[in-house]
Symmetry: C2
Subunit: 474 residues, 2 copies
């Protein structure tokens, strides 16, 4: 099954999807009755699950055998977090009971995306002529939608653009917040393409007890940390929704287009909104969808509507873009492609996402070398054994050790990382020594970030945030 | 009971409103048990009805004695058209079974607004030093909210601004569409104040099967007819939502502010939206609310947020502004004041609003003198008797005669209008003669409008629609 077949409910009506689901259910029953190969049954079940996700996206309802889609009338809905086992993943909640973190393979099946396999990583290397980023080599970006299609077009000299973003809920950003930006900068460099970065200050105003002014100030402060990641000013446009909506002839039009083609039933199904949510939350997904279309940036793309968009983001943002991909063909636009990352674990363990409001849950971009050292030594969940003797004998568990996980994100040297894994697992490397490796990796990285951020003047921020042509010909 | 007490649920919680309603119900029972004066009971019942409207506005639910407000959970709702007797009045439906049209006195009670009485008309005359417009003299603008407060402030040299609008659903405008504009122009002239006119092309895109481009083109075409009403270009800003949202730093911010403070439950109660409505419709009321606040027009009001807004509109638009008035104090703004007009009857009778899609339902601004004559002679519902003999003997009924109704809108001369009323009622004036009066009133009026519209160049439209300072000091 190719990626294109794996999803794409946009062109099917609810009834067509229902019929396809019924037929697929029948097929599985036949396969089981015939005691077919397990792999055949598994493949058929995976297609069924994908269809169920599509069905929910399109109708806002769960598929029930024998019940035709109830188009338009309210349904009982238990919210958007598809509860499969114990993991919960949506834009506002990520939780799992496993110390190893979320089961990402299951998530791929549930969300109907495709795994970034070695073949795709190799292909990116071939197409760009560059060694794949460590996030690709190590499965940190693990899932995608339509990446092969983007590469096909790129090989035929049809370029694309990048879109990523951040919800500026406070001034404080931690190292986990940098993951999409570090990776997006690499993509910008190796593909040499424009990038738009959305700061959803309107979203934070709607969801949090903050004023418009505070949210906008956080957006500008966060922009400085983002700029410090090294983006090319001639190819990067950073915008705050509150500001850009009032500056662009194209953005609001696309927001309204999306809003016309998504019902409350659908956002209820996708995001779990209820009748007591404010109408701002209910309509916001359209504002996150709109930058997926090049006409939202007429100053960059010169009015062209056929430039495809590639969105690197954490997997919890996927519901926004499943919705976007569903709407795109109905308003005459190409579906955005996606690259999904895993979550960055909290220092306390991989069960939850980090919290910007708990200073001990992660390493912040403002932490001093001493704070970094103390936090890691004191709070980083260890996969080591209780005593040195036991550790030497049985070795540590890198699957649950947060210091080791952080090293997979930030230590560039593959061989060194593998040696640490082996030595820690065998017991040769003690927990304190492992933590020291991480401290020595993060301290210079954060210090360098702070140095670069200091160089970011208000004028630089203003320039990044000014709607303008970018250095690219469309 | 003053106007200020008559409404204003904005500062009361659902529970406070519930308690006030319960207490008022008890009071009425006591009054009835004590066989109090009918006028006292009527006044108490009117207050109860007003409180019920407030309660529905705030909670999105109908008040039920003994049931505390169910904050936040979905309720059964039969839509927004408060069914009292047979009249239905909301932004999308106006209907009545009475040939005299909607019962406007009942509407005032239901909506919790105040009647424009002779005292208010006299006061407007005193304050402006001008003879009141015929729409005021004849009760065509019949209801208001906070107009005394606007006049109090005006007398203390505190100015205000006007806001009205139109939904551009087609190029074709009929004479009924001119009512708010004719009256607003008079208000602009006698008070010498700025005016903003909203063209909700986004609304029409969301509600109708039209493209964004069509809706925006209709907005620009309609602007020409509006400009032809004679507005002062130095004091008037006309804007299309699709255009202005992308041009103003203030508009989107106010839209988001309103969106944060209105729940789906509330718009469900006020406008009758359902779960299968698109999220664009659900959030649109905020776009119609935002121009009620002067900060939506920083270029005009120089950032001042305390300039009050007065909205002349047909009464069917009141639900938008009840919602706006409820939100205003919660986001730190003054409530807009309102002046409500009756509906302009269709040629076929006052039971319904006219339809821009039925060319015979009204006189269009593009009709030729001959078309005007034919339409009135052929389609205008007559209050005359079946034969000349019967008519001479019993006289005609001006309460249901559409030609006479149209004359109350457009014939400026009060004495002439009164003479026509008397002569038609007595049978001295025949239906053909009455229709001739109307034809001779409308033909030159429409011809003059067409002449003025021809003078409106694209450049003039562009200037009216350019965000800019107006000729007024704030």
């Amino acid at each position: 099954m190719t990626d294109c077949q794996a999803e794409g409910p946009g062109n099917m009506t609810p009834v067509e999807l229902y019929e396809k689901l019924s037929a697929q259910g029948d097929k599985i029953r036949v396969l089981k009755a015939e005691k077919a190969d397990k792999s055949d049954i598994d493949a058929a079940v995976q297609l069924l699950l994908n269809l169920k996700v599509d069905y929910k996206t399109v109708t806002g309802q769960d598929y029930k055998a024998g019940c035709l889609p109830d188009d338009g009338t309210p349904t009982q809905d238990n919210g958007p977090s598809v509860g499969d086992g114990e993991d919960t993943v949506d834009p506002w909640n990520v939780s799992t009971s496993s110390a190893k973190g979320v089961d990402y393979d299951k998530l791929i099946v549930r969300f109907g995306s495709s795994k970034i396999d070695q073949e795709l990583v190799d292909r990116i290397e071939r197409v760009t002529g560059q060694k794949p980023h460590r996030f690709l080599r190590r499965g940190i970006f693990f899932s995608h939608r339509d990446m092969h299609q983007v590469l096909d077009a790129y090989e035929n000299n049809k370029s694309f653009y990048l879109y990523t973003g951040r919800g500026p809920s406070s001034e404080a950003m931690h190292v986990g917040h940098l993951i999409p930006f570090i990776f997006t900068k690499w993509l910008q460099d190796v593909f040499d393409i424009p990038l738009v970065i959305q700061l959803t200050d309107d979203e934070k105003y709607l969801w949090k007890d903050l004023s418009l002014e505070e949210c906008h100030r956080f957006a500008v402060e966060n922009a400085k940390d983002i700029i410090a990641c090294g983006f090319d000013i001639s190819k990067t446009f950073i915008f705050s929704d509150l500001e850009y909506m009032g500056m662009s002839p194209g953005f609001y039009r696309n927001v309204v287009k999306v809003q016309k083609h998504v019902t409350f039933n659908q956002v209820k199904g996708i995001f779990g909104f209820t009748d007591s949510d404010c109408i701002g939350k209910i309509s916001f997904p359209a504002a996150q969808a709109a930058p997926s279309f090049s006409t939202s940036f007429p100053q960059i793309f010169n009015g062209r509507k056929d430039v495809q968009c590639l969105i690197p983001c954490a997997i919890d943002q996927d519901p926004y873009f499943r919705m976007t991909r569903d709407v795109a063909p109905r308003i005459g636009y190409a579906k955005p492609a996606l690259l999904h990352s895993t979550f960055f674990p909290a220092l306390q363990g991989a069960q939850t996402k980090m919290s910007a409001s708990d200073p001990n849950s992660s390493i912040f971009l403002t932490d001093t070398p001493k704070q970094i050292k103390n936090k890691i030594n004191k709070h980083a969940f260890s996969g080591g054994k209780d005593t040195i003797e036991e550790h030497r004998k049985h070795g540590g568990n890198t699957d649950v050790d947060v210091s080791f996980m952080y090293l997979t994100f930030f230590l560039e040297d593959d061989e060194k990382l593998e040696k640490i894994r082996q030595d820690y697992s065998s017991g040769d490397l003690l927990t304190g020594e492992l933590k020291k490796c991480l401290i020595e990796t993060l301290q210079p990285m954060i210090t360098a970030h702070q140095e670069r951020r200091k160089q970011v003047t208000e004028e630089t921020v203003q320039l990044f945030m000014t709607p303008r042509r970018l250095d690219f010909n469309y």
